[in-house]
Symmetry: C2
Subunit: 250 residues, 2 copies
């Protein structure tokens, strides 16, 4: 590992193409982080460099259910920067449909996408941080893991498993200087959610918004702001928490 003394922190953002990944990467760059990012959106690297960040790009790592994805991200951070101060992962494979019509294959799809994916990420990142004696991990899961979810019972159950996995791993390394937390979202305003919920047109959107106690969808920008204290080094005393970010739905 590189022994160079660094003034900027080093953050992994597993998926910089979609969801809140680009927003988190931008805020981290603004707050003096260099970045290792997976599959960045067009133009994002130049934007982050314009904010003063050094950026290492890793391609084809979006699917964290493949253990190699996380290993590649970690290796890139070691090779380029010699350490990892924080690491943010985006996980989850939606599986819809009633339990009474489900199959074991449906369940396996949910557990691989929702539990194995964060497991792989934690398994790759946490040992490095334990060795450093320092690090912050944030895993995005789903608020569906915190309450029974009509129409997505297998997904809800797998998410609950992931949320508890985060808490267990956090407890296991709590004395090692490593924080591990989860934020579980629902009802976020981004293309994949809108498409999956047939909410791309005004009528469909109104139907979905009516399910949110706050009466609206959440924005990626406000999610990024909420997430930053978990990964930007300013606040190091919270670990093993699962926090819903879902407009009052949980």
């Amino acid at each position: 590992m590189c022994a160079e003394r660094r003034s900027r922190r080093v953050a992994i953002v597993s998926d910089a193409a979609s969801y809140v990944g680009p927003n988190v990467a931008r805020l981290l760059a603004q707050r003096d982080h260099d970045l290792v990012i997976g599959d960045p959106a067009d133009g994002l690297v130049e934007e982050l460099e314009g904010l003063g960040a050094s950026v290492a790009v890793v391609d084809k790592v979006r699917n964290l259910a493949n253990p190699e994805s996380s290993e590649k991200l970690v290796q890139a951070a070691k090779d380029r920067f010699g350490r990892i101060d924080s690491a943010t992962a985006f996980t989850g494979q939606i599986v819809v449909g009633r339990f009474l019509r489900s199959t074991l294959d449906d369940l396996r799809t949910a557990t691989v996408g929702c539990i194995e994916a964060p497991y792989n990420f934690l398994r790759a990142v946490v040992p490095v941080m334990v060795e450093q004696g320092d690090g912050q991990v944030l895993v995005f899961t789903s608020a569906a893991g915190a309450r029974p979810t009509p129409g997505a019972p297998l997904y809800s159950s797998a998410r609950a498993g992931a949320n508890m996995l985060v808490r267990n791993v956090a407890d296991e390394v709590v004395g090692k200087g490593v924080q591990i937390n989860a934020i579980g979202t629902n009802f976020m305003d981004f293309p994949e959610f809108l498409k999956a919920n047939r909410a791309e047109e005004p009528e469909g959107r109104a139907r979905v918004e009516a399910m949110v106690p706050m009466g609206r969808l959440g924005t990626l920008e406000e999610l990024a702001h909420f997430s930053l204290p978990f990964v930007d080094g300013t606040s190091r005393f919270v670990t093993g928490q699962f926090i819903p970010f879902a407009g009052g739905w949980v």
Copy 2:
């Protein structure tokens, strides 16, 4: 109420003399907030004004168990700025000793200090925010409300009541544009905690630190950073949450 269009947000910080109050006030001032502060520490007003904030001071409001304290803070915000964008309250009355040796008076001390205090604050602030259709409330409680706490069973129980009060009030106004959340701390490094736990000398401090899974006390500065997204207007989709900030103790 003043109808002037304001570019800076307005925040109440109920106690700006101790605990995390001064730190939260500083960060809010840096992030374009004017402030209504209770009983400020020496020099704090000048410091906040130096950061660009207009500051209204309200004296003798530290005890939120007195309903007038919150009413005075709210009235000052209305008079000076015409609105309240966010409001942060610090509550709690420690009561120690075993249940089997306790009295009903002990319980009442705990419920007044831990439940009535946040009730009074919420009762004064929330109606104004509901009328505005907008606002953020953060109540500091204790992580002791989230698990049985040896040596402080009545305090732990009253704190649990407060944490659930916050969640209930948040649910009641969830459609009104008002967010209400609680952060529950334990093992924070500040004079009153150190004194109450006989941790002012190295030996006593080591004994207390050994109770914290992270092996250290939390700092007020990192607590302030963690708290800001709940009150600075950047993140508006989280409500009804209780979040422990306690070094892995909960």
